[in-house]
Structure formats: structure tokens, C-alpha cells
């Protein structure tokens, strides 16, 4: 009989446990566990104890050079093998670059289905109820899945990690990838990383977001001073990135990053649902927009109706004064 929750944890490129792993273990706990955490990668063995501290009852480590960087054709068969061994009721991934690519493929191989980008999960008996935004965040849909295991990917920060307890122990099982020589058909031949200056968007406690209304690359540039004063980072809407006004890596939204700062300052952006999906977990949104009907005001705690070019300079000055003291 299938039982328990299997989560696919992740490591950062720096070799640390990625925060999403804690979120996933938090979700597994809320579903009643027990939680098995699979860790695929190269040099990830040392992270097993941290998974235990975050609530994993069992950790399956597949530490193999072939898994160093994510390649679907390598990760999916390993994931499939683990799924079959563990025989869980529920399988969880983060809605990350790995989860987006791997979860649907694994679901197909396991003859089941996956609900992507979920905000909330619960079990009714053995039935998983997976609640997720759709229509760019305008609607919420709740699904059940005909198939076993029942799979879902979780939006970043949808769940909090369990409180860390370093005295917690877990059974740790080490496996090798054991891939057949012809497993990898689609092969990674090169990678270029965008260098991130300053605070990473995902980690920033203050984010200043710029929309099409800022008028061009200079507009975005001018927001960097404000973000800098607040120790934050600048993000942008998809429209802005698509027009080449700001780096693609700074895109916030459904197809970009999900950010959860304490304060989000939305400058000259209308709040298209595609963008709102990336800030749905932010409690304090400040909106500056000349259109009082702009959708962003529906989610904003504080608002100024007016041209950002008139508002931002004095706002920035005042912030400088207040933060200098």
C-alpha cells in the first residue's frame, strides 16, 4: 500500500541545502508524513543530516558526478526508481527549474499526474487535494489526481520549513545513479550564468519592482538607488524584461521569480496577473501608479496615485534621510 510523502529536495550551486527543501518538508509534515527526502546531485551527501533536522524521517542520497547539474534525462530515471522503491502516497517538488522540468516527466513515467505550482495541499483520507492558482492568478483551482503516487509542485514559500532540530536523526540510504549509457539523449553542452550584483531578488527583504510605465532602461536604473538605500533589490515585470530594459534574471512573476520580501514597492506597474503571481505572498505592497484603477492597488496596503517621476525622487530623498540616522 502506498504511504507517506516523498519530497525531492534540492541543493544550491554552492553545495548548500536549497531553502525549497525545507518548504517541501514543511508541506510533508502538514500532510502527516512520514517524509522521505530524496537528494540528487554531486557532493550532496553531507546535506542529509540537515534534511533530518528539518523533519525528514528518511533521506535517500544519490550522490553521483553524472547528477552534478540538472539534466532531465539523468534525473528522471533516478527519480522514477526512487518513486517505485518508496511507493509513496504523495510526491512533492518545488516549482523550481528542476521541478518544472522533472515533475511532469516523472508523472508520465509513473502513469499518474502532477498538479503544478500549488499553494495549498491537504489529504482527505488518501485523496490529495491540490489547490493552485490559474488564469494568471485570477482564479484558484482545486484538483484531485487519478493515479498513484499523487504528485504536486509547490510555489516558493507556500509552506514554512519545520523548526530545525539538529538532534533529529533519519535513516540515510546512499545509492548510485546507475544510469544506462544511452540514458542521456538531450545533453547540456554549455551554461552561462548571469552574475548577480548585490542582493539576490529571492533573498531581498525589500524589492522595488518596475513596470512598463517607467519608460525605459534609465527608469529601472533610477530605482536601483532606492533599492540600494533599503538594502534591497530591483525586479521587473515580464513586459520590461521582454523589451530588454532590464535583465531577464530580474523578472518577477509566473514565468519568472517568486519573491517574498517584507516590503514590495511597485513602481509604474499595472499589476497584470502574470506579475501578481510572483508577489502573491507579499504582505506589504506599496503601489505608485498614475492610474487609480490599476489592478496593483487591489493588492496594495499603501498607494500613491500619480506619475512615479514626480513621487520617487522626493520619496528616495526622504528614505535616504530616514535611513541615514
Amino acid at each position: 500500500m502506498p504511504s507517506g510523502v516523498l519530497v525531492f529536495g534540492e541543493a544550491t550551486e554552492g553545495g548548500e541545502l536549497a531553502p525549497v527543501t525545507g518548504d517541501l518538508l514543511g508541506a510533508a509534515k502538514s500532510l502527516g508524513g512520514p517524509a522521505t527526502c530524496a537528494l540528487l546531485g554531486a557532493g550532496v551527501e553531507g546535506l542529509a543530516q540537515e534534511c533530518a533536522a528539518l523533519g525528514a524521517d528518511k533521506v535517500i542520497v544519490v550522490d553521483d558526478p553524472v547528477l552534478k547539474d540538472y539534466q532531465g534525462d539523468a534525473y528522471v530515471p533516478v527519480g522514477e526508481r526512487i518513486c517505485k522503491e518508496v511507493d509513496p502516497l504523495v510526491v512533492l517538488f518545488g516549482q523550481t527549474m528542476i521541478g518544472r522540468d522533472m515533475a511532469p516527466r516523472l508523472a508520465a513515467r509513473m502513469d499518474t499526474a502532477v498538479a503544478m505550482d500549488c499553494m495549498e495541499l491537504s489529504l482527505e483520507g488518501e485523496k490529495l487535494l491540490a489547490s493552485r492558482p490559474c488564469y494568471g492568478g485570477n482564479a484558484r483551482a482545486r484538483y484531485t489526481i487519478n493515479g498513484m503516487p499523487q504528485m504536486a509542485t509547490l510555489r516558493a514559500k507556500a509552506y514554512d520549513p519545520p523548526e530545525r532540530d539538529d538532534s533529529r536523526q533519519a535513516e540515510v540510504v546512499k545509492q548510485s545513479a546507475d544510469l544506462s549509457a544511452d540514458a542521456i539523449r538531450a545533453r547540456v553542452t554549455g551554461r552561462t550564468k548571469e552574475a548577480v550584483e548585490g542582493v539576490r531578488l529571492e533573498d531581498a527583504t525589500v524589492v522595488v519592482g518596475g513596470g512598463r510605465g517607467v519608460g525605459g532602461p534609465e527608469g529601472l536604473k533610477s530605482l536601483e538607488e532606492l533599492a540600494g538605500l533599503l538594502g534591497g533589490a530591483v525586479g521587473a515585470t515580464r513586459a520590461v524584461c521582454d523589451m530588454g530594459w532590464y535583465p531577464v534574471g530580474a523578472q518577477i512573476g509566473l514565468t519568472g521569480k517568486v519573491v517574498t520580501p517584507d516590503l514590495y514597492i511597485a513602481v509604474a506597474l499595472s499589476g497584470a496577473s502574470q506579475h501578481m503571481a510572483g508577489i502573491s505572498g507579499v504582505k506589504n505592497i506599496v503601489a505608485i501608479n498614475k492610474d487609480p484603477e490599476a489592478n496593483i492597488f487591489r493588492a496594495a496596503r499603501y498607494g500613491v496615485v500619480g506619475d512615479w517621476k514626480e513621487v520617487i525622487p522626493t520619496f528616495t530623498e526622504k528614505v535616504k534621510e530616514l535611513t541615514a540616522g
Binding site: A107, R142, T192, A272, S273, V304, V305
Partner: protein
């Protein structure tokens, strides 16, 4: 001569004002807004653009547009034909209207098997209505062929496909043998806009229609059940900063945020 199949769907216009977005909770359906026409799902037309860029280089490429949906979807096929695609195939059968991603993939595959063998199958990274982003990968897994997701550049050369795909903080290059499934992301660039002459030519082009029985199917073999669909509450009270001038409003906003201990 390369053959590319582009899978496209039609969606309610995502640019329609959010205030007009309404759901029939009992029917679990989104209500159409009077006066606002449905549009091709944007990521799918970006997929057509990717195919057309290959055709721009390799002239004897054939591009087939494939869709599953009711009568209105014909407009989406016509749009893609006007962009420059060669053939249109419309799977249209009420028995398949409620297909989920799995059933959709099965139906598309049944149709693909009736066409000339495809070298590439291109889908958008996700449809802009349900936002699941799983049909492309599901197609590849059922067919047992490779898939590369989130492409920003696709080159078809020498019996293989070279793809630049998006990472969270960068780009990676992947090579895959053909046939292969590709899903494209918006970073690929804007889809070309049809010219009037092309729209007229596309209007005259025949679109092949297929029903479930043509494909040997008797209905949608769904794997997910939509249990509920609703509009989430947005219970945020906005405090508007009032001032005589916008300059003053800027200062007041900073002071208010300080007071709320947010800065």
C-alpha cells in the same frame, strides 16, 4: 525536408481587465467577457515563431499547426497560418472538450501519428489559462522521445536540435537528437504579426478537421479532476497617501512607511 508540428491552443484574452474576470463556480468554468475575443495562447504563437525562424533558414521546412478545441479555435489556426505556417489540423469533437493535459497529449499524439513524421514538436512553455506547463513534457514521455523545455533559441541542423534554454539566473545550451519535443519561453522573442496579404491567403487555406472517431478515440482519458474553481478573495484595504503635490506625497509615503516600521 524538416517537418515541424506546432501545438497551439486558444485562451480567454489574458489582457482583459482582472475586474471583469468571473467564474461560474457550479460549472467550474471561466465566463467569457462580452466583447472580448479569445486569443491564441501567447507562448504557443512564440512556438510558431520558433518554427518560422527555422523555416527562414531551411526553406523546405513544413510547419503544421495542430490544435484541440471547439469551433472558435479555427481562428487560432488561421492566425498561425497567416504567420506563415503551412498546414492546419483542427481536432474538434465535443467528446474531447474537457480533456486535461494527459488526455490532450494522447489526442495530439493520435493526430501526430496521422501526419508526416515530425522532426520537432513545439509547444508553448505553458498555456496562459491553466498555467500547468505539462503537455509538452507529457507528449515527449508518451512518445518516448527527448524533450527540452523553456527554449529561448532553437536551431535545427545536421539531424539534431540545438537549444538555448532558460535557467533562473542564466542560459544553458542543450543538444538533442530528433525527433524531439521543445517547449518555448517568452525570451525567444515576439511572435511575428501577420500581414494583410498573409491573412487573406490564410483565410483561403483549408484546415483539416479530425474527430475522436477519426483518431480511434472514444473520449478524454483524464488523469486530474477539477474539483473546484473560484476567484480568491483579495481583502486588502489600500491606504492612499494624500498630499497637495506629488513631491509631498513622496515624502509622506516615506514617513508613513517609517511609522509602520517597514523601512
Amino acid at each position: 525536408m524538416p517537418h515541424i508540428v506546432c501545438c497551439v491552443k486558444q485562451v480567454p484574452d489574458p489582457e482583459a481587465p482582472a475586474s471583469q474576470f468571473k467564474v461560474d463556480e457550479a460549472a467550474k468554468k471561466v465566463l467569457s467577457v462580452p466583447g472580448i475575443q479569445p486569443v491564441p495562447s501567447q507562448f504557443d504563437t512564440i512556438g510558431v515563431e520558433a518554427a518560422l525562424r527555422i523555416k527562414d533558414k531551411v526553406a523546405d521546412t513544413t510547419i503544421t499547426i495542430l490544435t484541440l478545441g471547439p469551433d472558435a479555435y479555427r481562428d487560432t489556426i488561421k492566425h498561425c497560418l497567416a504567420m506563415g505556417a503551412d498546414e492546419g489540423v483542427h481536432i474538434n469533437d465535443p467528446a474531447l472538450n474537457e480533456a486535461d493535459h494527459w488526455a490532450t497529449a494522447e489526442v495530439l499524439i493520435a493526430a501526430i501519428k496521422k501526419l508526416e513524421p515530425a522532426d520537432l514538436i513545439i509547444c508553448g512553455r505553458q498555456a496562459v489559462d491553466w498555467d500547468m506547463g505539462v503537455v509538452g513534457s507529457t507528449l515527449a514521455e508518451i512518445l518516448g522521445i527527448p524533450v527540452v523545455t523553456l527554449a529561448k533559441d532553437v536551431q535545427l541542423e545536421g539531424g539534431k536540435v540545438t537549444v538555448e534554454r532558460m535557467l533562473m539566473d542564466g542560459v544553458e545550451t542543450m543538444e538533442a537528437p530528433i525527433p524531439c519535443v521543445i517547449t518555448v519561453s517568452n525570451e525567444l522573442g515576439e511572435p511575428r504579426y501577420p500581414q494583410l496579404r498573409q491573412i487573406m491567403a490564410a483565410a483561403r487555406k483549408e484546415v483539416k478537421t479530425l474527430t475522436a472517431s477519426d483518431l480511434g478515440l472514444d473520449g478524454a482519458n483524464n488523469r486530474v479532476n477539477l474539483e473546484a474553481l473560484f476567484v480568491p478573495e483579495m481583502a486588502v484595504e489600500t491606504e492612499f497617501v494624500e498630499a497637495d503635490t506629488l513631491q509631498e506625497a513622496g515624502e509622506k509615503l516615506a514617513l508613513r512607511l517609517r511609522e509602520a516600521k517597514l523601512i
